[in-house]
Amino acid sequence: MNVDVEALIREAGTAGPGRIRAAARLMTIAEGGSGAAVNVLGKLAGAPEPRLVLGLTGSPGSGKSSLVDRLLQHCRAENPDSHIGVIAVDPSSPYSNGAFLGDRVRMMRHAGDPNIFIRSAATRGHIGGLAAGVFGMLKVMGLAGCDIVLIETVGVGQMEIEIESLADLVLIVLAPGQGDAMQFQKAGLMEAGDVFVVNKGDCAGAAEFHAQLMASVRLIDHDRKQRGPDSVRLVSAREDDGIAELLDYLDRRRDAEADRWLARRRTRLGTHLRAAVLELAQRRLEAEWSALADSDPVGRVLRGETGLAELSDALLRHAALNNV
Protein backbone atom coordinates (compact mmCIF):
# COMPACT_ATOMS: atom_id res chain seq x y z
CA MET A 1 0.00 0.00 0.00
CA ASN A 2 1.63 3.23 -1.09
CA VAL A 3 -0.13 5.52 1.36
CA ASP A 4 1.90 8.18 3.09
CA VAL A 5 1.07 7.35 6.70
CA GLU A 6 3.24 10.14 8.07
CA ALA A 7 1.38 12.72 5.97
CA LEU A 8 -1.97 11.36 7.13
CA ILE A 9 -0.84 11.52 10.76
CA ARG A 10 0.30 15.12 10.30
CA GLU A 11 -2.99 16.09 8.68
CA ALA A 12 -5.17 14.27 11.23
CA GLY A 13 -3.37 16.10 14.03
CA THR A 14 -4.02 19.59 12.66
CA ALA A 15 -7.18 21.70 12.51
CA GLY A 16 -7.33 21.82 8.70
CA PRO A 17 -10.30 20.82 6.53
CA GLY A 18 -8.76 17.42 5.75
CA ARG A 19 -8.46 16.41 9.42
CA ILE A 20 -11.46 14.07 9.56
CA ARG A 21 -10.72 12.52 6.18
CA ALA A 22 -7.10 11.84 7.13
CA ALA A 23 -8.14 10.39 10.49
CA ALA A 24 -10.75 8.20 8.80
CA ARG A 25 -8.11 6.90 6.37
CA LEU A 26 -5.77 6.07 9.24
CA MET A 27 -8.58 4.15 10.93
CA THR A 28 -9.08 2.10 7.77
CA ILE A 29 -5.40 1.21 7.80
CA ALA A 30 -5.51 0.46 11.54
CA GLU A 31 -8.39 -1.95 11.09
CA GLY A 32 -6.86 -3.54 7.99
CA GLY A 33 -4.70 -5.78 10.17
CA SER A 34 -1.64 -5.72 7.90
CA GLY A 35 1.92 -4.71 8.63
CA ALA A 36 0.78 -1.16 7.81
CA ALA A 37 -1.64 -1.35 10.76
CA VAL A 38 1.15 -2.24 13.18
CA ASN A 39 3.22 0.54 11.61
CA VAL A 40 0.43 3.07 12.29
CA LEU A 41 0.16 1.88 15.89
CA GLY A 42 3.86 2.40 16.37
CA LYS A 43 3.78 5.91 14.93
CA LEU A 44 0.82 6.86 17.14
CA ALA A 45 2.45 5.72 20.38
CA GLY A 46 3.02 9.29 21.55
CA ALA A 47 -0.21 10.82 20.17
CA PRO A 48 -2.49 12.88 22.46
CA GLU A 49 -4.87 10.75 24.53
CA PRO A 50 -8.57 11.29 25.20
CA ARG A 51 -9.35 12.35 28.77
CA LEU A 52 -12.03 9.72 29.09
CA VAL A 53 -12.58 6.42 27.30
CA LEU A 54 -16.00 5.07 28.09
CA GLY A 55 -17.01 1.53 27.19
CA LEU A 56 -20.64 0.58 26.68
CA THR A 57 -21.55 -3.06 26.48
CA GLY A 58 -24.58 -5.29 26.97
CA SER A 59 -27.02 -7.54 25.16
CA PRO A 60 -28.29 -6.78 21.65
CA GLY A 61 -31.24 -4.40 21.83
CA SER A 62 -30.62 -3.20 25.38
CA GLY A 63 -30.20 0.33 24.03
CA LYS A 64 -26.45 0.91 23.83
CA SER A 65 -26.60 3.05 20.68
CA SER A 66 -29.56 5.04 21.95
CA LEU A 67 -27.70 5.66 25.21
CA VAL A 68 -24.62 6.80 23.26
CA ASP A 69 -26.88 9.16 21.33
CA ARG A 70 -28.19 10.73 24.56
CA LEU A 71 -24.73 10.92 26.14
CA LEU A 72 -23.50 12.76 23.04
CA GLN A 73 -26.41 15.18 23.27
CA HIS A 74 -25.75 16.02 26.93
CA CYS A 75 -21.95 16.09 26.61
CA ARG A 76 -22.13 18.55 23.74
CA ALA A 77 -24.71 20.75 25.47
CA GLU A 78 -22.59 21.00 28.61
CA ASN A 79 -19.19 21.32 26.91
CA PRO A 80 -19.55 23.26 23.64
CA ASP A 81 -15.80 23.04 22.98
CA SER A 82 -15.42 19.33 23.53
CA HIS A 83 -14.66 16.87 20.75
CA ILE A 84 -16.20 13.45 21.10
CA GLY A 85 -15.44 10.25 19.23
CA VAL A 86 -17.63 7.19 18.95
CA ILE A 87 -16.45 3.75 17.85
CA ALA A 88 -19.47 1.51 17.32
CA VAL A 89 -18.82 -2.18 16.71
CA ASP A 90 -21.27 -4.53 15.02
CA PRO A 91 -20.78 -8.17 14.04
CA SER A 92 -19.30 -9.41 10.77
CA SER A 93 -20.99 -12.34 9.10
CA PRO A 94 -19.05 -15.57 9.61
CA TYR A 95 -20.67 -16.75 6.36
CA SER A 96 -20.14 -13.87 3.93
CA ASN A 97 -17.61 -11.70 5.86
CA GLY A 98 -20.01 -8.83 5.22
CA ALA A 99 -21.64 -6.74 7.92
CA PHE A 100 -24.62 -4.50 8.53
CA LEU A 101 -23.35 -1.59 10.60
CA GLY A 102 -26.48 0.05 11.95
CA ASP A 103 -25.47 1.74 15.20
CA ARG A 104 -25.03 5.06 13.45
CA VAL A 105 -28.75 5.22 12.68
CA ARG A 106 -29.44 5.98 16.35
CA MET A 107 -26.92 8.80 16.35
CA MET A 108 -27.60 10.48 13.01
CA ARG A 109 -28.77 13.74 14.54
CA HIS A 110 -25.13 14.33 15.49
CA ALA A 111 -23.88 13.75 11.94
CA GLY A 112 -23.86 17.49 11.24
CA ASP A 113 -21.90 18.29 14.40
CA PRO A 114 -18.28 19.00 13.43
CA ASN A 115 -17.14 18.10 16.97
CA ILE A 116 -18.48 14.56 16.83
CA PHE A 117 -16.69 11.78 14.95
CA ILE A 118 -18.59 8.52 14.63
CA ARG A 119 -16.93 5.45 13.18
CA SER A 120 -18.55 2.05 12.70
CA ALA A 121 -16.42 -1.08 12.83
CA ALA A 122 -17.15 -4.70 11.99
CA THR A 123 -15.70 -7.48 14.16
CA ARG A 124 -14.05 -9.23 11.17
CA GLY A 125 -13.83 -12.52 12.99
CA HIS A 126 -12.57 -11.08 16.24
CA ILE A 127 -14.03 -12.60 19.40
CA GLY A 128 -14.44 -10.61 22.59
CA GLY A 129 -16.99 -7.91 21.72
CA LEU A 130 -14.64 -5.59 19.83
CA ALA A 131 -12.79 -5.59 16.53
CA ALA A 132 -9.04 -6.07 16.27
CA GLY A 133 -8.63 -2.55 14.93
CA VAL A 134 -10.43 -0.73 17.76
CA PHE A 135 -7.28 -0.01 19.73
CA GLY A 136 -5.72 1.69 16.70
CA MET A 137 -8.96 3.57 15.99
CA LEU A 138 -8.96 4.82 19.57
CA LYS A 139 -5.41 6.10 19.14
CA VAL A 140 -6.46 7.92 15.95
CA MET A 141 -9.44 9.46 17.78
CA GLY A 142 -6.98 10.86 20.33
CA LEU A 143 -4.72 12.17 17.57
CA ALA A 144 -7.70 13.87 15.90
CA GLY A 145 -8.41 15.78 19.11
CA CYS A 146 -11.22 13.81 20.75
CA ASP A 147 -11.40 14.52 24.51
CA ILE A 148 -13.92 11.78 25.12
CA VAL A 149 -14.29 8.53 23.23
CA LEU A 150 -17.27 6.23 23.61
CA ILE A 151 -16.72 2.64 22.51
CA GLU A 152 -19.84 0.62 21.90
CA THR A 153 -19.28 -3.13 21.71
CA VAL A 154 -21.28 -5.62 19.70
CA GLY A 155 -24.30 -6.97 21.52
CA VAL A 156 -22.62 -9.34 23.96
CA GLY A 157 -23.53 -12.41 25.97
CA GLN A 158 -21.96 -13.41 29.25
CA MET A 159 -18.27 -13.62 28.41
CA GLU A 160 -17.20 -10.89 25.98
CA ILE A 161 -15.32 -8.55 28.26
CA GLU A 162 -12.48 -7.34 26.06
CA ILE A 163 -13.80 -3.79 26.40
CA GLU A 164 -12.33 -3.79 29.90
CA SER A 165 -8.84 -3.67 28.37
CA LEU A 166 -9.61 -0.40 26.52
CA ALA A 167 -12.09 1.61 28.56
CA ASP A 168 -11.45 3.65 31.69
CA LEU A 169 -14.98 2.82 32.80
CA VAL A 170 -17.15 -0.03 31.56
CA LEU A 171 -20.88 0.62 31.48
CA ILE A 172 -23.02 -2.52 31.34
CA VAL A 173 -26.29 -1.55 29.68
CA LEU A 174 -29.23 -3.70 30.74
CA ALA A 175 -32.96 -3.63 30.17
CA PRO A 176 -35.88 -4.95 32.23
CA GLY A 177 -36.75 -8.52 31.38
CA GLN A 178 -33.14 -9.65 31.07
CA GLY A 179 -33.26 -12.13 33.94
CA ASP A 180 -33.28 -11.86 37.69
CA ALA A 181 -30.79 -11.99 40.57
CA MET A 182 -29.43 -15.35 39.39
CA GLN A 183 -28.11 -13.72 36.21
CA PHE A 184 -26.46 -10.95 38.22
CA GLN A 185 -24.52 -13.52 40.30
CA LYS A 186 -22.82 -15.03 37.29
CA ALA A 187 -19.17 -14.67 36.48
CA GLY A 188 -17.94 -12.93 33.35
CA LEU A 189 -19.67 -9.84 32.02
CA MET A 190 -21.16 -8.77 35.35
CA GLU A 191 -17.67 -8.79 36.90
CA ALA A 192 -16.35 -6.44 34.22
CA GLY A 193 -18.82 -3.63 34.92
CA ASP A 194 -17.86 -0.41 36.70
CA VAL A 195 -21.28 1.11 36.18
CA PHE A 196 -24.58 -0.67 35.58
CA VAL A 197 -27.13 1.23 33.55
CA VAL A 198 -30.66 -0.11 33.54
CA ASN A 199 -32.11 1.41 30.37
CA LYS A 200 -35.76 1.50 29.29
CA GLY A 201 -36.72 2.88 32.70
CA ASP A 202 -40.03 3.86 31.14
CA CYS A 203 -40.93 0.21 30.49
CA ALA A 204 -42.78 -2.16 32.81
CA GLY A 205 -40.65 -3.93 35.41
CA ALA A 206 -37.76 -1.44 35.27
CA ALA A 207 -37.93 -0.38 38.92
CA GLU A 208 -37.99 -3.99 40.20
CA PHE A 209 -35.15 -4.95 37.86
CA HIS A 210 -33.11 -1.99 39.11
CA ALA A 211 -33.77 -2.86 42.76
CA GLN A 212 -32.72 -6.50 42.27
CA LEU A 213 -29.58 -5.47 40.41
CA MET A 214 -28.73 -2.95 43.13
CA ALA A 215 -29.05 -5.64 45.80
CA SER A 216 -26.83 -8.05 43.82
CA VAL A 217 -24.12 -5.58 42.93
CA ARG A 218 -23.87 -4.36 46.51
CA LEU A 219 -23.88 -7.83 48.03
CA ILE A 220 -20.10 -7.98 47.92
CA ASP A 221 -17.53 -5.25 48.36
CA HIS A 222 -15.48 -5.44 45.23
CA ASP A 223 -11.71 -5.05 45.31
CA ARG A 224 -11.26 -4.27 41.63
CA LYS A 225 -14.28 -2.05 41.13
CA GLN A 226 -15.60 0.87 43.11
CA ARG A 227 -19.25 -0.01 43.18
CA GLY A 228 -21.07 2.40 45.42
CA PRO A 229 -24.85 2.73 45.38
CA ASP A 230 -24.47 5.36 42.63
CA SER A 231 -22.90 2.82 40.28
CA VAL A 232 -26.29 1.25 39.51
CA ARG A 233 -28.34 3.69 37.43
CA LEU A 234 -31.90 3.68 36.18
CA VAL A 235 -32.36 5.67 32.95
CA SER A 236 -34.51 5.92 29.87
CA ALA A 237 -32.64 6.85 26.71
CA ARG A 238 -35.92 7.18 24.87
CA GLU A 239 -37.44 9.60 27.40
CA ASP A 240 -34.10 11.30 28.14
CA ASP A 241 -34.56 10.48 31.80
CA GLY A 242 -31.62 10.09 34.18
CA ILE A 243 -29.01 10.73 31.47
CA ALA A 244 -27.83 14.12 32.80
CA GLU A 245 -27.42 12.56 36.25
CA LEU A 246 -25.49 9.63 34.79
CA LEU A 247 -23.15 12.04 33.02
CA ASP A 248 -22.60 14.02 36.25
CA TYR A 249 -21.72 10.78 38.00
CA LEU A 250 -19.26 9.81 35.25
CA ASP A 251 -17.67 13.28 35.42
CA ARG A 252 -17.20 12.98 39.17
CA ARG A 253 -15.53 9.61 38.80
CA ARG A 254 -13.26 10.93 36.09
CA ASP A 255 -12.18 13.86 38.26
CA ALA A 256 -11.39 11.49 41.12
CA GLU A 257 -9.78 8.64 39.17
CA ALA A 258 -8.21 10.14 36.04
CA ASP A 259 -4.62 9.79 37.26
CA ARG A 260 -5.10 6.12 38.06
CA TRP A 261 -6.71 5.52 34.68
CA LEU A 262 -3.80 7.09 32.81
CA ALA A 263 -1.34 4.87 34.61
CA ARG A 264 -3.50 1.84 33.84
CA ARG A 265 -3.67 2.71 30.15
CA ARG A 266 0.12 2.64 30.01
CA THR A 267 0.29 -0.81 31.57
CA ARG A 268 -2.26 -2.07 29.03
CA LEU A 269 -0.23 -0.88 26.07
CA GLY A 270 1.86 -4.05 26.01
CA THR A 271 -1.29 -6.17 25.81
CA HIS A 272 -2.58 -4.26 22.79
CA LEU A 273 0.73 -4.32 20.97
CA ARG A 274 0.97 -8.08 21.54
CA ALA A 275 -2.56 -8.50 20.23
CA ALA A 276 -1.72 -6.48 17.09
CA VAL A 277 1.37 -8.62 16.50
CA LEU A 278 -0.72 -11.78 16.97
CA GLU A 279 -3.25 -10.60 14.40
CA LEU A 280 -0.43 -9.94 11.98
CA ALA A 281 1.13 -13.33 12.72
CA GLN A 282 -2.17 -15.00 11.96
CA ARG A 283 -2.45 -13.23 8.62
CA ARG A 284 1.03 -14.31 7.64
CA LEU A 285 0.36 -17.84 8.82
CA GLU A 286 -2.75 -18.03 6.66
CA ALA A 287 -0.88 -16.70 3.64
CA GLU A 288 1.86 -19.26 4.25
CA TRP A 289 -0.73 -22.04 4.57
CA SER A 290 -2.34 -21.05 1.26
CA ALA A 291 1.06 -21.07 -0.41
CA LEU A 292 1.65 -24.60 0.88
CA ALA A 293 -1.67 -25.95 -0.46
CA ASP A 294 -0.10 -27.53 -3.55
CA SER A 295 2.26 -29.64 -1.49
CA ASP A 296 -0.68 -31.18 0.44
CA PRO A 297 0.60 -30.61 3.99
CA VAL A 298 -2.36 -32.36 5.65
CA GLY A 299 -1.84 -35.46 3.50
CA ARG A 300 1.85 -35.54 4.32
CA VAL A 301 1.13 -35.38 8.04
CA LEU A 302 -1.57 -38.08 7.76
CA ARG A 303 0.78 -40.38 5.80
CA GLY A 304 3.47 -39.84 8.39
CA GLU A 305 5.85 -38.16 5.93
CA THR A 306 6.03 -35.01 8.02
CA GLY A 307 5.67 -34.62 11.76
CA LEU A 308 3.11 -32.08 12.97
CA ALA A 309 5.73 -30.32 15.07
CA GLU A 310 8.03 -30.13 12.06
CA LEU A 311 5.24 -28.67 9.90
CA SER A 312 4.25 -26.07 12.49
CA ASP A 313 7.87 -25.06 13.00
CA ALA A 314 8.30 -24.60 9.26
CA LEU A 315 5.07 -22.59 9.01
CA LEU A 316 6.03 -20.29 11.87
CA ARG A 317 9.52 -19.80 10.51
CA HIS A 318 8.28 -18.89 7.03
CA ALA A 319 5.54 -16.67 8.42
CA ALA A 320 8.10 -14.78 10.45
CA LEU A 321 10.33 -14.21 7.44
CA ASN A 322 7.73 -13.36 4.80
CA ASN A 323 6.00 -10.02 4.88
CA VAL A 324 2.42 -10.08 3.57
Binding site: M27, G33, S93, G98, F100, L101, G125, Q282, E286
Partner: protein
Protein backbone atom coordinates in the same frame (compact mmCIF):
# COMPACT_ATOMS: atom_id res chain seq x y z
CA UNK B 1 -8.02 -11.95 21.10
CA UNK B 2 -8.76 -14.72 18.65
CA UNK B 3 -9.67 -14.13 15.05
CA UNK B 4 -11.29 -16.50 12.63
CA UNK B 5 -9.12 -18.22 10.08
CA UNK B 6 -11.36 -17.30 7.17
CA UNK B 7 -10.92 -13.59 7.84
CA UNK B 8 -7.22 -13.54 8.43
CA UNK B 9 -6.54 -14.96 4.98
CA UNK B 10 -8.49 -12.33 3.08
CA UNK B 11 -8.36 -8.70 2.15
CA UNK B 12 -10.38 -6.36 4.36
CA UNK B 13 -13.99 -6.05 3.13
CA UNK B 14 -14.98 -2.98 1.11
CA UNK B 15 -17.17 -0.47 2.99
CA UNK B 16 -20.36 0.92 1.45
CA UNK B 17 -22.75 3.55 2.81
CA UNK B 18 -26.44 3.01 2.07
CA UNK B 19 -28.98 5.66 2.96
CA UNK B 20 -31.92 7.80 2.01
CA UNK B 21 -31.89 11.56 1.58
CA UNK B 22 -34.80 13.94 1.81
CA UNK B 23 -38.30 13.48 3.11
CA UNK B 24 -39.13 10.14 1.48
CA UNK B 25 -39.44 7.40 4.12
CA UNK B 26 -39.86 4.33 1.92
CA UNK B 27 -36.85 2.33 3.06
CA UNK B 28 -37.74 -1.21 2.01
CA UNK B 29 -35.57 -1.04 -1.09
CA UNK B 30 -32.60 0.50 0.73
CA UNK B 31 -32.78 -2.15 3.45
CA UNK B 32 -33.05 -4.91 0.84
CA UNK B 33 -29.99 -3.67 -1.03
CA UNK B 34 -28.09 -3.28 2.26
CA UNK B 35 -28.89 -6.89 3.08
CA UNK B 36 -27.87 -8.13 -0.38
CA UNK B 37 -24.56 -6.27 -0.15
CA UNK B 38 -23.94 -7.63 3.34
CA UNK B 39 -24.43 -11.15 1.98
CA UNK B 40 -22.05 -10.35 -0.86
CA UNK B 41 -19.31 -9.61 1.67
CA UNK B 42 -19.50 -5.84 1.94
CA UNK B 43 -19.50 -3.90 5.18
CA UNK B 44 -22.64 -1.78 4.87
CA UNK B 45 -22.99 1.38 6.93
CA UNK B 46 -26.68 2.11 7.03
CA UNK B 47 -27.78 5.66 7.83
CA UNK B 48 -31.54 5.25 7.77
CA UNK B 49 -34.10 7.60 6.28
CA UNK B 50 -34.58 11.38 6.00
CA UNK B 51 -30.94 12.35 6.05
CA UNK B 52 -29.59 15.69 4.89
CA UNK B 53 -26.99 15.70 2.08
CA UNK B 54 -24.47 17.15 4.56
CA UNK B 55 -25.09 14.24 6.94
CA UNK B 56 -24.57 11.65 4.20
CA UNK B 57 -21.35 13.31 3.06
CA UNK B 58 -19.98 13.67 6.58
CA UNK B 59 -20.83 10.04 7.41
CA UNK B 60 -19.18 8.89 4.15
CA UNK B 61 -15.97 10.71 5.10
CA UNK B 62 -15.92 9.54 8.73
CA UNK B 63 -16.60 5.96 7.69
CA UNK B 64 -14.08 6.16 4.81
CA UNK B 65 -16.40 4.27 2.47
CA UNK B 66 -15.55 3.39 -1.13
CA UNK B 67 -19.15 3.58 -2.32
CA UNK B 68 -22.19 5.69 -1.42
CA UNK B 69 -25.55 4.26 -2.49
CA UNK B 70 -28.68 6.39 -2.20
CA UNK B 71 -32.27 5.28 -2.70
CA UNK B 72 -34.96 7.64 -3.99
CA UNK B 73 -38.66 7.11 -4.42
CA UNK B 74 -39.56 10.75 -4.03
CA UNK B 75 -38.71 12.22 -7.45
CA UNK B 76 -36.17 14.57 -5.88
CA UNK B 77 -33.17 12.48 -6.96
CA UNK B 78 -31.47 15.04 -9.22
CA UNK B 79 -31.57 17.97 -6.81
CA UNK B 80 -30.56 15.84 -3.83
CA UNK B 81 -27.80 13.93 -5.62
CA UNK B 82 -26.40 17.29 -6.79
CA UNK B 83 -26.20 18.47 -3.19
CA UNK B 84 -24.64 15.23 -1.96
CA UNK B 85 -21.97 15.44 -4.68
CA UNK B 86 -21.27 19.06 -3.78
CA UNK B 87 -20.95 18.18 -0.08
CA UNK B 88 -18.63 15.25 -0.82
CA UNK B 89 -16.37 17.48 -2.94
CA UNK B 90 -16.30 20.08 -0.20
CA UNK B 91 -14.89 17.37 2.06
CA UNK B 92 -12.27 16.27 -0.51
CA UNK B 93 -14.21 13.01 -0.99
CA UNK B 94 -15.19 13.49 -4.64
CA UNK B 95 -13.62 10.19 -5.68
CA UNK B 96 -16.18 8.07 -3.78
CA UNK B 97 -18.15 5.84 -6.19
CA UNK B 98 -21.79 6.98 -6.29
CA UNK B 99 -24.70 4.69 -7.11
CA UNK B 100 -28.41 5.38 -6.98
CA UNK B 101 -31.58 3.36 -6.97
CA UNK B 102 -35.33 3.74 -7.03
CA UNK B 103 -38.09 5.02 -9.27
CA UNK B 104 -35.94 7.12 -11.57
CA UNK B 105 -37.05 7.82 -15.19
CA UNK B 106 -34.59 6.99 -18.05
CA UNK B 107 -33.98 10.67 -18.89
CA UNK B 108 -33.05 11.35 -15.31
CA UNK B 109 -30.76 8.31 -15.25
CA UNK B 110 -28.81 9.93 -18.10
CA UNK B 111 -28.71 13.25 -16.25
CA UNK B 112 -27.49 11.57 -13.04
CA UNK B 113 -24.75 9.75 -14.94
CA UNK B 114 -23.61 13.00 -16.55
CA UNK B 115 -23.38 14.46 -13.02
CA UNK B 116 -21.01 11.69 -11.93
CA UNK B 117 -23.33 8.99 -10.58
CA UNK B 118 -21.68 5.78 -11.75
CA UNK B 119 -24.78 3.59 -11.93
CA UNK B 120 -28.53 3.77 -11.30
CA UNK B 121 -30.57 0.69 -10.41
CA UNK B 122 -34.23 1.00 -11.27
CA UNK B 123 -37.10 -1.27 -10.10
CA UNK B 124 -36.79 -4.85 -11.32
CA UNK B 125 -32.98 -4.93 -11.20
CA UNK B 126 -31.86 -8.26 -9.77
CA UNK B 127 -29.74 -8.52 -6.66
CA UNK B 128 -27.07 -10.31 -8.71
CA UNK B 129 -26.90 -7.41 -11.19
CA UNK B 130 -26.46 -4.88 -8.37
CA UNK B 131 -23.68 -6.90 -6.74
CA UNK B 132 -21.90 -7.57 -10.05
CA UNK B 133 -22.10 -3.96 -11.22
CA UNK B 134 -20.77 -2.55 -7.95
CA UNK B 135 -17.94 -5.09 -8.13
CA UNK B 136 -17.11 -3.91 -11.66
CA UNK B 137 -17.16 -0.26 -10.63
CA UNK B 138 -14.75 -1.00 -7.77
CA UNK B 139 -12.42 -2.98 -10.06
CA UNK B 140 -12.41 -0.12 -12.54
CA UNK B 141 -11.55 2.32 -9.78
CA UNK B 142 -8.57 0.22 -8.69
CA UNK B 143 -7.20 0.10 -12.22
CA UNK B 144 -7.67 3.83 -12.75
Amino acid sequence: MASSIAFAAQHPPVRILIGKVGLDGHDRGAKYVAHVLRDAGYEVIYTGIRRAPEEIAEAAVQEDVAVVGLSFLSGAHIALFRRVIEQLRRRCAGQVVLVGGGTIPPDDVRTLKSMGVAEVFTPGTSARTIVDRIGQLLDKRQVA
